[in-house]
Amino acid sequence: MTEGPFPPTDALDQEGFNLLREGDVFHGLEIVNLVGRGGMGEVYRALQPALRRHVALKVLPARPEHVELHDRFEREAKSLASLSHPNIVKIFDFGKEGGICFLVMEYVEGCTLRRAMEEGPLTRKRVSSIFPQILEALAYAHSCGVVHRDVKPENILLDAEGRARIADFGLAKWKRPGATLTKTGARMGTPRYMAPEQFADSKDVDHRADLYAAGMVLLEMRQGREDAVVRRALAREPSLRYQSASAFKDEFLRRSKPLRVTWGLLLALVLLLPLGAVALALLLPRRTDAPPRFPQPRYRERIRLTGERSAPRWAVTIRPDGREVVTGDRASSLRRWSLPDGREPVPLVEHTSLIQGLRYGRDGGLLVSASHDGTAGVWRCQDGRRLFRTPNHGAPVYAVALALGDEILVTAAGRRVRVWKWAEGTEPLVLPGRGWGALCLDVSPDGKILASGWADGSVVLWDLALGVERRTIATGDQRIVALSYRADEKTLAVAALDSIRFFDGSEGSSKGGVGNARRVRAAVFRPDGAILAWGGDDRRVHLWDVVHETESQVLDGHTGPVTALAFSADGKTLVSASLDTTVRVWSFGE
C-alpha cells in the first residue's frame, strides 16, 4: 500500500513471518511483492490476472492465538464492504484459505501522508486540498455507523493525483489501549492520536474520537501551528469538540480561505491608519468572517418529477421560459413535463437507447437530443415533430449543442466532434479528434465558439464562424465531464472528474476554480454568470458564488448521484436530474 514498510508496531511484526513470496499464487492472485507490515499482518501487492489490475492483499496467519483477531478481522471486513467513498480504500474480497486469513483491497499507487510529511513541509494549498478529503471520508464513515479509531498519517494514503484515501479502516482497533501503550515504539506514536476518553475505555468512544485524531493530524500537517480550528478539535471534553466531521470541515474551509483584499478594504485601511494598530486588529478578523455583501437568493425545492415510470435520469433540460422540462433516461424516450404543475404530456419516442444529451435552442422553439443509439435529433417543440436525425455515428452520442442562431447542430460521439447544417441535410464537417472520446460540449453565448471536452483531459476551442481551431487547453485532469460558458463569454467552467476550474474562454489561461469539487457529473453557469451549479456523486447540488468564491448554498434532497443540471433563462429555476429516478425543480422567490 505504500512504498515503504509500515514501522514495526507489535509482537506480530516482531515475529516477522513472511507468509507469501514473490510469484506465489494465492486465492487466484499473483504476489508481486511485500509492501508493508502493520497491526493486522502483512500487506502484499498482487496482480489479479482476470481483471489485469493490481490489488493490495492483506494476510494474517490463522493461528489459535489470533482467534480474537480473526473475529474482528471478519466482522470489520464485512462492515467495510458496505462503505463506498472516493476517499476510503475499497475492499474487494475477504476470506480464509490455506490457514491464512486474507483481505483484498484497492491498491493505491502513491505514499502515506506520513511519508509525504517526511519529505518536507506541506504547503498551505496542499493541506487545504488533503485535509477536507480526510474529513469527508470520516463524515461518510460516521454516517454509516463506523468509527475508525486509528486515524493517523500512516493510515492515510495519497495517490499521484493528490487524492487522499483512508486505509486500515477499523482494522487497527483490535489492540487494547493498554497493550498499545506498552508495546508501541515512540516512532509509531499511536497514542499521540488517541482522544483522552479512548485511553479510559476504547470500546466506549464515538465518532468524536476520530475528530480528535483528525485534529492531531492537522496539527502535524501544519507543523505544529495551532489555531482555533485545531484547538476545538483537540478539546479534552468530547462535547466541546466539533460534533460532526462536516462541521469540522466547514469550519476548516471557512478559516483557510485567504483574506480577500478588495477596494473597500484598502480604503478602510487607509482611512483607519491614524487610529492605529488596535483598530486594525479589531477590523481584520471581522473582515474574514464577513458574509458575502449581496445576499444570494435561496433556492427551494418546488416539485419533484417522477411520473409513472421511475427510471434513473441521465439528462435534463429546461425551456428558456422555465415552462417545460425534458428528461432522458435508458427508456429511450424523451419525457416532457410542463411547469409549474408537473404534468407529463405524451413522450416523444424515437431513440433506441439511453438519452444522455438534451438542449433547447435559443428561444425554446427547438430541442436537440443525443442518444447512445448513435444518433442525434432536432425536434420542433410546438408539435413534437422531428425535423432532423443524424445518420448513425457508429458510437454513442454523448453531447449535443446548437450554434449560430440554431442553424448548426454539433454532436460529440466517439473520436469526433461533428458540425451539421441540419436544415440543409448536407454531410457534416468533421473536426479532428483527440483520444477515444469527445464527451461534452458547450457553445459560447454569442454562438461563435465551440468548446469540446475530451476523455484525455483536454479541451479544444473552435471558432465556428471561421471553421478553425482556436486553442487546445491541456488541463492535466482526468476526463472532462462537463463544460459551461459564462455569460461574459470570457469564462469557461471545465469540470473534470475531481475538479472544476475556470479558464479564459478564448485564451485558455487558468483563472482559479471551485473549491473541493469531487466526483463531478454536471456543472452549469446560471445565465447571469454569478453562480455555477454543480452536482455529482455526493447527491447534492452545490451553488458556487463565482464573485465571492464561496459556496453560497447546497441543495439537499436527491438520494442518488446528480447527473444533469439546467437553468431557465432568468436563472430563477434550476432543474436537477438524478439516478434516484427523480428530477427536482428548485427556484427562489414566490
Partner: protein, 238 residues
C-alpha cells in the same frame, strides 16, 4: 467504462460495441469483457449443442470468439439499423466456428486473448433437447433477464427505507428451498405490512419488465422489432 453503468458516462449496449471497436485500447478489453459477461452463456450453449463439443473445447471456442469479435473487425459491420444483435451474433458465431474448423484440423486449446469471465470455468450442460438455435435463444433470454436483474439490484440498492430488491429476490428469483416466502412470512421477516410486500413486488416486477424492454430495445432496430423480440424471448412470461 464501468459495467455497473454507474459512471458519468454509463455503459449501454452501444457504448460497449463502440468500445470494443476501439482496437488495442484498454477500453476495447473492458467492453469485450462486459459483452462476454452478458452473453457468454448463449454462445457457449450453442457451441456445445451444435458442434457437440466437450466443456473444455466449448470454453476455448467461446473465449476465442469474444476475442475475435474485436480482432477480426466483426463488429464494424454492426449498426443499430441493421436489426437484432442476437441474430447478428449467432450468424457471426456460426461463421467463426466453421472457418475455425477449416483452419485447424482440430481445435487448439488456449491461446489468444481471454476475455470471458471466470463463471465459464465450470460451464454447464445445455438443458432440454432443443436445436442449437433454440438453445441459443433460451440462454439469450436468460442472459437478458440476468442483466435486467443486476440493474434492478443496483437501482434498488440505493433504497434505504425498504428492502425492495431483497423481497423480490426471495419471492421471484432465488427462492431458498424450504423457506416460507408467503406475503405474510415476508411481511413478518422485514417488519412491514403485507400490503407493502405486495406493493413492492408489483412495483419491482413492473420495473423489471421495463428494464428487460430497455435492454432489448438497445439490441434491435425499431420499436416493432423490440416488441417481437420480447415476445420471442419471453412469450407470455413477461
Amino acid at each position: 467504462m464501468n459495467s455497473s453503468g454507474d459512471d458519468a458516462f454509463p455503459s449501454t449496449h452501444w457504448s460497449l460495441i463502440s468500445g470494443a471497436r476501439d482496437r488495442g485500447s484498454s477500453r476495447c478489453r473492458e467492453s469485450l469483457e462486459e459483452l462476454a459477461r452478458r452473453y457468454w452463456r448463449p454462445v457457449y450453449a450453442f457451441v456445445r449443442r451444435k458442434w457437440t463439443l466437450p466443456h473444455e473445447d466449448a470454453k476455448d471456442v467461446t473465449q476465442e470468439f469474444f476475442a475475435a469479435l474485436c480482432e477480426k473487425d466483426m463488429l464494424d459491420r454492426l449498426a443499430p439499423e441493421h436489426g437484432k444483435f442476437r441474430s447478428f451474433l449467432m450468424a457471426v458465431l456460426d461463421h467463426f466456428v466453421v472457418s475455425k474448423h477449416r483452419r485447424e484440423s482440430r481445435l487448439k486449446r488456449g491461446g489468444g486473448v481471454r476475455v470471458v469471465p471466470l463463471d465459464i470455468e465450470k460451464g454447464f450442460e445445455p438443458a432440454g433437447d432443443g436445436s442449437p438455435e433454440e438453445i441459443f435463444q433460451i440462454e439469450w433470454a436468460r442472459s437478458v433477464l440476468a442483466e435486467a436483474l443486476r440493474r434492478l439490484e443496483i437501482e434498488r440498492r440505493g433504497s434505504k427505507t425498504l428492502p425492495a430488491y431483497e423481497i423480490l429476490r426471495l419471492r421471484d428469483v432465488d427462492k431458498p428451498p424450504g423457506e416460507d416466502v408467503s406475503y405474510k412470512a415476508l411481511a413478518k421477516r422485514f417488519g412491514i405490512a403485507e400490503t407493502q410486500v405486495t406493493n413492492i413486488l408489483h412495483e419491482g416486477r413492473r420495473r423489471l419488465r421495463e428494464l428487460v424492454l430497455e435492454l432489448i430495445r438497445e439490441t434491435v432496430a425499431s420499436e416493432r422489432e423490440a416488441e417481437s423480440e420480447m415476445k420471442d424471448l419471453f412469450g407470455r412470461r413477461t
